[in-house]
């Protein structure tokens, strides 16, 4: 995103936060989007998180072969990695692909088929009507999904570790319950909030300013996912630097 695009992005965000025409209509749209972003993505996030947790446990066990390191450390490392980095970031990147491309192509198609013009002619603030419900769904449901992902990733680690024999159930549970710092949850939720904002607004921006036809909508969708992923990784670094 160059500076012109970033400026346009900020101006679009300003328009998004104009006073809604009718709260009731917006509330309905917000719940629909929460269902789409949250409930609609839960299965995918559950599968990915469980497997990542399981693989993480096996890899940590593989690397910690020394007799001087207690096996409980496998649970601790898996817990902290899942909470601080893997759950928020992997969830966000997966959602950027799933939700981001859907948002970009939906709004882009509305643009090229003049549906956004129709909204504006009616006197409706189209950025607010189209983007605000998605944004609110993103910043509320992505943290929820990240919390689910944390539990499932740690649970997946338990399954992977115990089924393979890399760690015993008691050692793993002792590991995940020892020296737990609740502040890591705060850091993860701040990340999830920021990522939820990016996942919804960047694709919305790409779709909103599409010009042309089907090809341009597809290109905008691809660009939305790429820019979202890079923004997520950059913000991940910044938030980690600021909070830890």
């Amino acid at each position: 995103m160059n500076f012109t695009n970033f400026g346009k992005y900020l101006l679009l965000l300003k328009a998004v936060f104009r006073k809604p025409e009718k709260i009731k209509i917006y509330m309905k749209a917000i719940f629909q989007q929460m269902d789409f972003v949250g409930v609609g993505s839960l299965g995918l996030i559950a599968i990915i998180s469980t497997f990542i947790g399981a693989v993480m446990t096996l890899q940590i066990a593989f690397q910690l072969v020394s007799d001087f390191i207690p096996k409980t450390i496998i649970g601790s490392v898996n817990r902290d990695s899942s909470i601080l980095e893997l759950s928020p970031t992997i969830t966000a990147i997966v959602l950027a692909g799933k939700i981001g491309s859907a948002i970009s192509s939906e709004i882009g198609t509305m643009r090229v088929s003049e549906q956004i013009d129709a909204l504006e002619i009616m006197g409706i603030n189209s950025p607010g009507y189209l983007i605000l419900p998605k944004l609110i769904a993103g910043i509320t449901m992505v943290p929820v999904l990240v919390i689910c992902s944390m539990f499932l990733s740690i649970g997946g680690g338990f399954l992977g570790g115990t089924l393979s024999g890399a760690v015993s159930p008691s050692e793993y549970i002792q590991g995940i319950t020892t020296d737990f710092n609740p502040y890591t949850i705060v850091v993860a939720l701040v990340k999830a909030f920021v990522f939820g904002f990016i996942i919804t607004t960047v694709p919305a921006y790409e779709g909103f300013y599409v010009k042309g036809g089907a090809l341009e909508v597809a290109q905008a969708s691809t660009r939305a996912v790429v820019v979202s992923c890079i923004s997520i990784l950059a913000c991940d670094y910044i938030v980690t630097q600021l909070l830890l």
């Binding site: 198609t109 088929s113 504006e120 009616m122």
Partner: protein
């Protein structure tokens, strides 16, 4: 009444509209005609605020539109209905929901009242009973009629139609034209239709503004259009073999 004065619009170094002025009266069908790339759709978009002209003014019954901010424009836009070239119906909503959408946004009517209004609008465009269909289930002509029904849902004072006949067969085109004319006369709206369809010009053109290369070349009625000595206008009007053959009857 809508009055435009000295409208100029450019895209980069390409000047699309070169100082266009005109007055569009209520209760009559006003047509903006011209060949492809003559600037008629750009003029329409400047009039409704989808594009901003570099120069000139647009006045809705004396209210200066081009200088208004977003909030002020909302009041005028509530009085505007527009039929888009591709109908621009909301894909995710049924026909009824499309028509009720502006009512949901800007009125406090009960659901029953809104539904009655939607039924009335559908009846007006001869689409009774199609309430629960989605736009994807409609033909091109039906989509245009739903577009008109949505445009009149809020009882607009100003009705804009961008190429209402594009992609339609001649018979359906006449139905749409007649519907636009009937609605204009019935509700005394200021109706502006952008078209290059000569059937529409001869059928409903009470006032016609002819644009050529971004300039206003001629204005008059459909009774006068066949009797001018402006070469560019004659080239446009009598471009088809049918119109050439019919010329001797005018």
């Amino acid at each position: 009444m809508i009055e435009i004065k000295d409208i100029e619009k450019s895209f980069g170094s390409n000047t699309v509209l070169k100082g266009i002025s005109a007055t569009f009266q209520e209760g009559v069908t006003n047509l903006i005609i011209g060949g492809s790339g003559s600037g008629k759709t750009t003029l329409l978009k400047c009039m409704v605020g989808l594009q901003t002209p570099e120069k000139g003014s647009v006045q809705y019954d004396g209210r200066e539109f081009t200088q208004m901010d977003f909030e002020q424009r909302i009041e005028i836009r509530k009085e505007i209905g527009m039929l888009f070239q591709g109908s621009a119906l909301f894909d995710s909503m049924t026909v009824e929901e499309n028509i009720m959408f502006p009512l949901n946004m800007f009125t406090d009517q009960s659901f029953k009242e809104k539904q009655e209004r939607a039924n009335f609008c559908l009846q007006r465009v001869n689409l009774e009973g199609k309430n629960k269909l989605f736009p994807a289930e409609l033909s091109g002509g039906m989509k245009k009629r739903v577009g008109i029904a949505r445009a009149i849902a809020m009882n607009p004072k100003y009705l804009f139609c961008d190429e209402p006949n594009s992609g339609l067969d001649p018979k359906t085109s006449i139905v749409i034209d007649e519907l636009i004319k009937e609605i204009t006369e019935e509700y005394n709206t200021t109706t502006i239709v952008v078209t290059h369809d000569m059937n529409s010009v001869m059928g409903i053109g009470d006032y016609i503004l002819f644009l050529h290369e971004g300039k206003k070349f001629w204005e008059g009625s459909n009774k006068e259009i066949a009797h001018t000595d402006i070469a560019e206008l004659n080239d446009f009007v009598f471009a088809s073999r049918f119109m050439k053959a019919a010329k001797k009857n005018f």
